[in-house]
């Protein structure tokens, strides 16, 4: 069993979240697993493409990285290079293996925009394998939960809140749950600014 089995009968050109007890593997040519693999040689050798630097720019890297050896690079940069290679090879399925773990907030936002572009403009299928729904819950159309490559649940985007007890809760949801436990009538929000406004309105009404 491998990651392609999970995506059988799934629409292409979508962004999926994937969570569960697996190690990602694939033997399919149209799949790329984006991971911090430490290849041998330089970036230029690995990418096998010293002319096309547009893919490097797309993954937030500069041209000067081409002459560096993998051993000189951070895991975050290795993950970006893995994505650049998949883009050069023009794979249909891009599977991100805990990709967000080495990225800061600015980079996470950038890659979310890139994933949307890749699905909308190039009909790529993106799978984000993670244990943290907060990194992608606003862009993934569906969350697939697996155990040893067997799909045990598929949660559409509009039902994420109903399944929050089964998956890791974002900090904002934990905070709202604490308010609800105090019988405060408040909705769930994804953006702290919206939550702030809601708290302000509630406090203003109680004054």
């Amino acid at each position: 069993m491998e990651v392609a089995n999970i995506l059988e009968n799934k629409n292409q050109g979508f962004i999926y979240g994937l969570m569960g007890n697996i190690n990602l593997t694939t033997n399919y040519n149209n799949y790329s697993i984006i991971t911090g693999y430490r290849f041998s040689g330089t970036v230029k050798d690995y990418l096998n493409s010293n002319k096309d630097i547009s893919s490097l720019k797309m993954v937030m890297l500069k041209e000067d990285i081409l002459n560096k050896h993998a051993s000189e690079l951070s895991i975050g940069d290795l993950k970006k290079i893995s994505l650049a290679k998949a883009l050069i090879e023009n794979k249909e399925y891009l599977i991100f293996d805990y990709f967000e773990k080495e990225m800061n907030a600015h980079e996470k936002e950038y890659f979310k925009r890139l994933w949307k572009r890749l699905t909308n403009d190039y009909h790529k299928t993106i799978v984000i394998f993670t244990n943290d729904i907060t990194s992608f819950w606003d862009i993934a159309q569906e969350l697939i939960i697996v155990d040893k490559y067997k799909v045990i649940n598929t949660i559409p985007k509009d039902k994420y809140y109903d399944f929050m007890d089964d998956i890791s809760k974002p900090e904002i949801i934990k905070f709202i749950d604490l308010l609800k436990a105090k019988n405060i009538a408040i909705d769930y929000y994804q953006d702290p600014k919206d939550l702030l406004k809601a708290i302000y309105r509630l406090k203003e009404n109680t004054l």
């Binding site: 007890n21 697996i22 190690n23 051993s71 000189e72 690079l73 951070s74 895991i75 975050g76 940069d77 993950k79 970006k80 805990y98 773990k101 080495e102 990225m103 800061n104 907030a105 600015h106 980079e107 244990n131 040893k148 890791s168 974002p170 900090e171 904002i172 934990k174 905070f175 604490l178 308010l179 105090k182 405060i184 702290p192 600014k193 939550l195 702030l196 708290i199 302000y200 406090k203």
Partner: protein
């Protein structure tokens, strides 16, 4: 504060410290330095190591399922590495961007365990929420220390952190907003504390 380590112009003191890094920071050199200076270093690199872990530790961390599990995932391996390292007599434990892979209960038990056993903790991370765990923060950008100080001080520097690509932790951002509206008078670092101030 007493100096514990001095590496590449970074001074790490005798206080539990978060080293906040950007994705381009290569931790290898620091990891080698720590190993040579007798600290326990946990990375996410997968190995064929055999992990000897006492039953009590599996029980304490409620990870008994890991004991006989055959096909280990990356997260299982990180947990086993950490549990086996806790047997060590060393005083300083360095986590190289691995806590971000773990669930919150495991992280909380780990921090509690290290505090109880008087071990020092250094946590390298790109995840701003993890800065809330420990007392001191050192911020690295482009291999240079940009700022450092107690958590309460560093997390006030919203502009600098944003320039480096970091948001504030959720609870700090929310309490800053509530402070601006006059609903609280200080910044909070725990959800429970802020909720209890808003609605007693």
């Amino acid at each position: 504060m007493q100096e514990l380590f001095n590496l590449n112009n970074k001074t790490l003191y005798d206080i539990d410290t978060t080293v906040l890094i950007t994705s381009s920071f290569n931790m290898t050199e620091d990891a080698i330095y720590f190993i040579n200076n007798k600290a326990v270093v946990i990375t996410k690199d997968r190995t064929n190591d055999f992990y000897e872990i006492p039953n009590e530790l599996y029980e304490l961390f409620e990870e008994e399922d890991l004991q006989n599990k055959k096909e280990l995932t990356l997260i299982d391996e990180i947990k086993k590495k950490i549990l086996s390292s806790l047997n060590s007599n060393q005083k300083v434990f360095v986590f190289m961007n691995v806590l971000t892979y773990l669930d919150k209960p495991f992280k909380e038990k780990l921090i509690r365990y290290l505090k109880l056993t008087n071990k020092k903790m250094i946590n390298y991370t790109t995840e701003i929420e993890e800065t809330l765990f420990l007392d001191y923060i050192t911020v690295i950008y482009d291999n240079k220390v940009i700022m450092e100080g107690l958590k309460e001080q560093v997390l006030q520097e919203e502009k600098i952190l944003k320039k480096l690509g970091f948001h504030l932790p959720f609870i700090v951002e929310l309490s800053n907003g509530l402070k601006y509206y006059g609903l609280v008078n200080k910044v909070y670092f725990k959800n429970e504390d802020l909720v209890n101030v808003l609605w007693k």
